[in-house]
């Protein structure tokens, strides 16, 4: 029997997911022994035509990382869906939009203006912005160049194609990937929609600082790692840092906590949560110990970007999917 065929594709992503694959180190040899990698733009020179020429369903598993932001991504993921038996959303961006999903707070024009005109370090005297088509002279020939269209917003993978499994994390640790790969190769496939490689317990449950968490958390202030340094060896929530461990899936090995950083939620929601940010807000707010509106407002004022913190990896998959825009809305963010 021939080896299972694996494809590896990236959409709007940073390359960190590929990194987690490379981090397998010596185990990579086992991976190459067990599967054939048939498509992997980050490392191998195959083109879209090569995938098109494969028979339908001939790829056993496609791992797709990154959110769907360009028409090119859309085309490729639909193609891979057709050619693959199993499609796995790999990493936070692909599963819920990830950090690029926070761009759903803005429309395409705002993003392009910001990036190409407004950023203080950008000098763009001729106001040049990317266009879908442009004509240039190359060696005396008039050549038309084109770029893929930017979609109206960033879509998590399962909003554009059918997704069989999810591997969480930003990026998934190589251990999580290894576990997931073993599950997929074992032939005993879990039900569709399962999260592979991570547990079902919360990060808090597996946190090395869990013992130092008081039974009842009562916070009188919220601190930020931007301007204070957390104490070692004490529950970060108890210290007043917004740690999302209680609502986040564990399985990451508490990497951030071990580096003295609060959890930002990259392993996504626990089972049963329908909107990660809503749940996180509910949790954090309920442990603020004030009972008066004014005092509460003061505490909440101390954090400048609540959506950025509570929806860091989840905005595109949230109930509202991003900022809702209505006609005539003046573009100004509070």
């Amino acid at each position: 029997m021939s080896k299972p065929k694996v494809a590896w594709y990236w959409c709007a992503s940073c390359g960190g997911c590929e990194e987690s694959f490379v981090d397998l180190a010596e185990k990579l040899l086992d991976v190459f022994g067990a599967v054939d990698i048939v498509f992997c733009p980050v490392a191998m020179d195959y083109k879209k035509e090569d995938v098109e020429n494969m028979p339908d369903k001939s790829i056993t598993v496609s791992f797709i990382n990154g959110g769907v932001r360009l028409e090119e991504h859309l085309e490729m993921v639909k193609l891979l869906r057709r050619k693959s038996d199993i499609v796995v959303a790999y990493g936070a961006c692909s599963s819920w939009g990830g950090i690029p999903g926070l761009a759903n707070l803005y429309n395409v024009k705002e993003i392009i203006d910001r990036k190409y005109k407004e950023v203080p370090t950008v000098v763009n005297l001729n106001n040049i912005t990317p266009r879908e088509e442009t004509e240039v002279d190359i060696d005396g020939y008039r050549v038309k160049l084109s770029l893929p269209r930017v979609l109206d917003r960033l879509y998590p993978l399962d909003q554009v194609i059918d997704v069989d499994y999810y591997i969480p994390g930003c990026p998934p640790t190589s251990e999580v990937f290894w576990n997931a790969l073993n599950i997929l190769l074992s032939g005993e496939l879990p039900p569709k929609g399962s999260i592979l490689g991570a547990g079902s317990k919360s990060l808090c449950d597996t946190c090395p600082l869990n013992e130092t968490k008081p039974d009842k958390l009562e916070l009188t202030e919220l601190k930020r790692i931007a301007n204070t340094i957390p104490k070692l060896d004490e529950c970060l929530l108890a210290q007043g840092y917004i740690c999302l461990g209680p609502v986040t899936r564990g399985g990451c090995g508490a990497l951030c906590i071990n580096a003295n950083m609060p959890c930002t939620g990259c392993f996504g929601p626990l089972d049963g949560i329908i909107d990660y940010g809503g749940k996180a807000a509910s949790y954090i707010a309920s442990i603020i110990s004030y009972d008066e509106l004014e005092e509460l407002e003061k505490v909440y004022d101390s954090i400048p970007d609540w959506v950025g913190i509570l929806y860091k990896y989840y905005l595109a998959a949230s109930k509202l999917g991003g900022r809702i825009r209505r006609k005539k809305e003046v573009v100004k963010d509070g």
Partner: protein, 146 residues
């Protein structure tokens, strides 16, 4: 008359105070607009911000969370305080997500305040009529597969 925009308002009302007030409004034959869809919960502290997001995503134009007056009216001692803490924060998130502040209200309505209930509903319906429907992105969320 028929094509006038009618906003839909989802109301989470606590069993002990606000729902009793809504009942009282009915038995007292007070009139209020039929735009509300009332869901009884045991306590305003039970209402998770996720429920509110789901209501908006499913087509509500406005949401009211109603409970007993703070500090001490809550049947469960401090459920209303939990609601206050949660929704004070949650209002900030809604604002950032582009939901106008008129679309979400946290109201304290005691069992005897049927009149207040009627006022709140009247006021909100008028405000939402002016705002118009919440054109929800969720409808267009899933790109159609080719």
């Amino acid at each position: 008359m028929g094509d006038r925009y009618e906003p839909i308002i989802v109301v989470f009302a606590c069993n002990w105070c606000s729902y009793a007030a809504i009942d009282l409004a009915g038995t007292s034959r007070l009139h209020y607009p039929p735009n509300v869809r009332v869901i009884k919960v045991m306590c305003s502290g039970r209402v998770d911000p996720q429920f509110v997001l789901e209501a908006f995503a499913d087509g509500a134009d406005g949401v009211i969370v109603a409970g007993c007056h703070p500090p001490a009216d809550c049947h469960y001692q401090n459920g209303n305080i939990k609601a206050l803490r949660r929704f004070t924060l949650f209002k900030r998130i809604l604002a950032r997500l582009g939901i106008e502040k008129e679309r979400f209200r946290l109201e304290w309505i005691s069992a005897s305040e049927a009149k207040k209930w009627v006022e709140v509903v009247n006021e909100m319906v008028n405000e939402l009529r002016k705002l118009g429907p919440l054109k929800n992105r969720v409808e267009v969320r899933r790109l159609v597969e080719a």
